[in-house]
């Protein structure tokens, strides 16, 4: 069975759980106590990933670190529809990669602010927030134009891709780092649409589209 080295409150782990759930894949969660235990820096986990970063996915003999690498792999291997990562469409793949890189930026900014405020990590929260707002500006404007063109998603016209899943977690958790989404209506509409993707799952800090469901 697919095994995920996972931390419940990590947005990067969550994006992998999201896709696994959407694709209906069974997987085993191996909890790595990132906080408060800092077990991602312990020898046992460094043997799995010398970078000490979560998540890591194991599938048969394959061991993959980096959440976006994992999304690329899972979608390419297990999505029969070929829509989450359309390997035959060069332009679209380029676009997806562009937004995966923006999602990396969200990890460095919105997520860093959240770790500083919530878990006392020694990051410059103010600088991280500033960086997050710059990325939110770009994403919100992009989504607004996509809506004008009749599209609900970051890249493909008719179907979400792994770019949506990659950007979603740290956008949705941003308030924990003091990054407000109040001024980003297109982002807010898009996050509501992501929550309605069949197979969508939640994590602590992110609620379903319908409370109590």
């Amino acid at each position: 069975m697919i095994k995920l080295y996972d931390f419940d409150l990590s947005g990067n782990c969550y994006k992998v759980r999201l896709l696994l759930g959407i694709l209906g894949l069974e997987f085993e969660r191996k909890n790595v106590d990132f906080f408060p235990g800092f077990k991602h820096r312990a020898a046992e986990f460094l043997a799995v990933n010398p970078l000490g970063q979560l998540p890591v996915l194991e599938d048969g003999d394959l061991s993959l670190r980096d959440s976006h690498a994992i999304l690329v792999y899972l979608a390419s291997k297990y999505d029969g529809s070929g829509r989450w990562y359309p390997t035959g469409d060069a332009a679209l793949l380029g676009e997806i990669q562009q937004w995966l890189s923006l999602a990396e930026g969200l990890t460095a900014t919105a997520s860093a602010a959240r770790l500083a405020e919530g878990m006392d990590f020694d990051f410059d929260a103010e600088a991280a927030r500033k960086g997050a707002y710059r990325l939110f500006d770009v994403l919100d404007e992009h989504l607004w134009f996509r809506e004008r063109e009749g599209s609900d998603w970051i890249c493909a016209p008719a179907h979400p891709t792994i770019a949506d899943l990659a950007c979603f977690p740290y956008v949705m958790l941003s308030e924990e780092g003091g990054v407000s989404r109040e001024d980003y209506p297109a982002i807010r509409r898009w996050t509501d649409r992501v929550k309605r993707i069949p197979g969508f799952s939640v994590m602590p800090g992110i609620f379903p589209a319908q409370l109590g469901s």
């Binding site: 419940d8 409150l9 909890n31 106590d33 906080f35 408060p36 235990g37 077990k39 405020e117 919530g118 878990m119 006392d120 308030e175 924990e176 003091g178 994590m203 602590p204 800090g205 992110i206 609620f207 409370l211 109590g212 469901s213």
Partner: protein, 285 residues
Amino acid sequence: MNTMTQPDPFMLNQWYPIASLQEILPGQPRATKLFGQRISYERNVAGALQVSDGSRALPVLEQYGCLWTSLGEPDELFDVPEYAEPDRRNVNAGSVGVQVSAQRGIENFLDMGHFPYVHTGILGALPHTEVKEYNVEMIRDGREIIATECLFYQPMASTVSTSGADVEYIYRVPHPTCSVLYKSSPMDEKRLDAIALFGQPTGEETFRGHMVLSILDDVNTDDFISYFQLHIFGQDKPILENQMPKRLPLDPRAETPIRADKTSIMYRRWLTGHGVTYGTIPAAA
């Protein structure tokens, strides 16, 4: 937000948790905040804990897996006798920063009404939303609030639960920013698990919640017990951080309570009675 507002005497003269003891490594000084004031602490190579506000040494107490200190002159810290029972698992589940006043955090901790909506499938489930009648009183000459006979249907009450059950809760508030809840143990029907939220007011509108558990669980690892508690608290966090105003209003007309809020009503009245202003919006005289 003015983080340097001076605390009122009742708040000032309390012990506050500032760190989980397991995180303090010998010879590695660390810093945190209390009432907006920078506080440094260190376990020296001889093993002694030292706390300072930069100009003077502050009192030190090691209790319930936490380091406690005070900027005032505190009395004895409240007792949680269960913590000393030898067969319990005492776990520091994590210290989490929250962007709202500590009293808002405590009030949320005391509330059962949100379980089915916020902790769906774990501490509550629709349609089981009713908070049944329970009892609230002051004990120990008004030094502590206690709520008893609280019953709530929970699908997965603890780390060792295997099915849903009506769970009995007792809540204690022995401190303006600390609360201990007791709930029936799935392992032993005669005993209760204790789960504490110890609030460190870092500012008027921010706190760190130190979560300490003293429970009966001979199955799970500390990592999993911590995971479970952080999962629950992670669900509370966005709700707490979206509360407006961020300080707790003490005027009974400011936020309309319902019957299920009896404990909260008593808590707000108790804070008012002690003249608490820090982290609150006091009622106009």
